[in-house]
Amino acid sequence: MSVILETQNLRREFGALVAVDDVNVQIAGGTLHSIIGPNGAGKTTFFNLVSGTLKPTAGRVFYKGEDITDLPVHQTIHRGIGRSFQITNIFPFLTVQENVRLACQALGKDSFRLLRSHARFSDYLERSEEVLTRVGLAEKAYHVAATLPHGDQRKLELGMILAPDPEVLMLDEPTAGMAAEQVPELMDLVQSIQEAGGKTVVLVEHNMNVVMRVSDRITVMHQGALLAEGAPAEISADERVQTAYLGELYETSAEEEAP
């Protein structure tokens, strides 16, 4: 598989704090690549750097060999990178369908049409219905988004990324706050989307179990730096990951420094 997304020495500082510390990651096209790590590991910052919502202090991001580091956010979407947010980020007072329809319309050429009713652009309507069916929200298409239960809002968010049919989907904790029962369902959905469309999925997760089953490859971050990378089996066997992840690291280091 060719590398579709790549970071070189990506670094981001907030004042004295180094949130992302010279991270090099290569993500192969058509795979489901997860980035995991405990709270405060810098996953979301890294994610924001790659998707262009934050600008790095140093380092570059490449998409299909092209340097996209300085590209404005709205253009990365046009290149085919869609991203979701850890905190639900939707248009709360618009209907579910309108949320997705806006996402469909974004990549068309009709957004500056002023005089025809949006309802006459049936392509977007059809596409949004298709997407809503895919994520299982078709029956709630005319509900106001804010009135949906939390789990459905996460699905809507996923739908909004799917709508323009991007090549790379970047998902930041898509299951945050969802019930344990719903998690496998959503992960299956993500996996099926990835496999059916041959898409690349970059998944940031906090919960290791969620990603073990569906990932092709896993990157582990800890304290802003890259800790390990490999196939799920390698990762779960890696002792450093286990300790870092489970928070036992402090015991060893405390012992080292304590005497």
Binding site: F14, A16, L17, V18, A19, N39, G42, T44, L54
Partner: protein, 536 residues
């Protein structure tokens, strides 16, 4: 819901970056800021050096004077915005209200005393609010009917109060002539357009008027008590309520008894002391009014900031109309207190010591300065700057304010009633604006448009200095004051332009425009102003 962007990894190394590196880093982060400040200082210095020496000295002092007045308005605006995120568009009108109240206290203290009596009586029943709330529980109506009944009580009470207040024994008021308010009449008598009235034009039993006003107040208070949602806990009715009620009644009675001697005493004072007295009265009254505004109008809208902006806009409009109703539309002036108005023998005074010569003007470095404008006003500005800075830096209230600017919720979580602090800050800001109003009145006169003019200057100063920064407010006010005076001065002497014979003379109308242009430029370069913190 944690966002990892805010995670701060601890550093086990304690030494931290060295002083030099810190300074270098600070410079790097603030290079735009430093450059802008440098350019600004450079432009000012060049502009001033282009003038003759006596001109530039005068210009600086006049700039400081205007800056001091602007600062008084802008300091309140800045405190309020910094702490509560409320942009008070009525702040200029508080300034105006301060000037009008100050004028009344200065030239017509008797009217103020007169009006205070019925107002105290009207306020007294509100001290018994818990009682009204308890009584209101017996009204079993709910929903809209309850609201309508409540407002009905308020309206009936207001009518009763209105008709009895106009029957009140006022020294200066022709009770037959409702078209003119007492204040308006005093203005006209003062201007000589209305004949002075004989004392006590009132006829009829005082007791009716007193009871009528009390009844009116009680009905209004009861109405508001009814507006409260049934079922919510009522405040406790304790001794304090009765003490407050009795105190207000007693105060009204006392005031009535001592009115004559107090009047005599006030009018016996020199105008200088009367001026200081009126400053105090005006500040207190407007501060109390500000607190009332915060509680009634601003507080219900904390979660709707745009509406807050709109309501202060509407409030400003109301205040202008109110002033026009109460004091009349024509502009009038306020006499300078005697200490700053001396002329004749030995005047103008010479040198810095001349400020104490009792002359209205002094000559310093060949420039002619007005003692009131370029001496007293600047002095008050500096005193307020120092006082507020001390309040912010040294007192517990200041500590809470500084903390509240940053994390109001955390302050609340420490058990501090942030809302009450908000009210106090709003009152403080209003009082400072009123102080500015009284100070400005002797030099710019009184008109219902004076607030809007100063608000524009204050907004510019605030935006230039940084919206939430108190030192920024001072710097911004200074910049605006100096810029305005420099341009006015150049409007007189003209700017020599190479190869053009006639020097360019900016017309006075462009003065405010220039400061606005400066504001736009600075905001475009530094969206947070000269000293503002970057957005949270």
């Amino acid at each position: 819901m944690s966002t990892e962007t805010s995670d701060l990894r601890s550093q086990t190394s304690e030494a931290g970056p060295s002083k030099n590196r810190q300074r270098a880093e600070w410079l790097r982060e603030n290079r735009v800021r430093v450059t802008v400040l440098a350019v600004l200082v450079f432009v000012f210095v060049v502009a001033l050096l282009g003038l003759e020496r006596e001109d530039w000295f005068e210009t600086i002092m006049q700039g400081l004077s205007v800056g001091a007045l602007t600062f008084l308005v802008v300091s309140g605006l800045s405190l309020i915005f910094g702490l509560m995120d409320v942009f008070n568009l009525a702040h200029g009108e508080f300034f105006m209200l301060g000037a009008y109240l100050g004028w009344t206290a200065y030239t017509r203290a008797d009217t103020l005393l007169d009006v205070a009596i019925p107002l105290l009586l009207l306020a007294a029943p509100f001290a018994l609010m818990p009682l009204w709330q308890r009584l209101a529980v017996s009204i079993t109506l709910t929903g809209r009917a309850r609201k309508a009944t409540a407002w009905g009580f308020v309206i009936v009470g207001a009518l009763a109060a209105f008709f009895t207040i106009t029957r009140f024994p006022l020294v200066i008021w022709d009770a037959e002539n409702f078209a003119l308010t007492p204040a308006n009449m005093t203005v006209q008598i003062d201007l000589g357009t209305h004949a002075p009235l004989p004392a006590d034009t009132f006829s009829g039993p005082v007791i009716v008027a007193v009871l009528g006003v009390l009844l009116g107040g009680a009905l209004i208070a009861f109405g508001f008590g009814t507006l409260r949602k049934p079922g919510t806990e009522t405040e406790a009715l304790d001794r304090r309520n009765y003490v407050a009620f009795g105190g207000l009644l007693l105060a009204a009675l006392l005031l009535h008894l001592v009115k004559e001697p107090v009047n005599e005493w006030i009018f016996g004072l020199s105008t200088t002391w009367r001026f200081f007295l009126s400053m105090g009265i005006s500040v207190l009254l407007v501060a109390a009014f500000g607190a009332l505004v915060e509680v009634i109008l601003i507080r219900p809208l904390y979660d709707r900031p745009i509406y807050q902006l709109m309501i202060t806009l509407g409030l400003g409009f109301i205040l202008i109309e109110l002033v026009r109703e109460v004091w009349g539309r024509p502009e009038f002036t306020m006499a300078r207190p005697a200490a700053f108005a001396g002329t004749g023998e030995g005047c103008p005074g010479q040198g810095l010591g001349g400020f104490f010569s009792g002359c209205s003007t002094v000559e310093v470095f060949g420039g002619r300065l007005r003692v009131y404008n370029e001496g007293f006003v600047i002095l008050v500005g500096i005193v307020v700057l120092v006082a507020v800075t001390l309040l912010l830096r040294r007192s517990r209230l200041g500590m809470v304010i500084r903390a509240g600017v940053e994390h109001p919720e955390m302050v609340e979580a420490l058990g501090i009633n942030v809302r009450r602090v908000f009210t106090m800050v709003f009152a403080l800001g209003s009082g400072l604006a009123a102080l500015g109003g009284v100070l400005a009145a002797p030099s710019i006169g009184l008109s219902s448009g004076m607030g809007a003019v100063f608000l524009l200057g204050a907004i510019v100063a605030l935006a230039v200095g940084g919206l939430t920064s108190f030192p920024g407010a001072a710097v911004g006010a200074l910049v605006v004051g100096l810029l305005q005076q420099i341009i006015i001065r150049y409007g007189q002497v003209g700017i020599p332009i190479p190869f053009v014979e006639e020097p360019f003379k900016p017309s006075p109308t462009v003065v405010p425009a220039a400061s606005i242009v400066l504001m736009v430029i600075i905001l475009l370069v530094l969206p947070t102003g000269l000293l503002g913190r970057s957005e949270k």
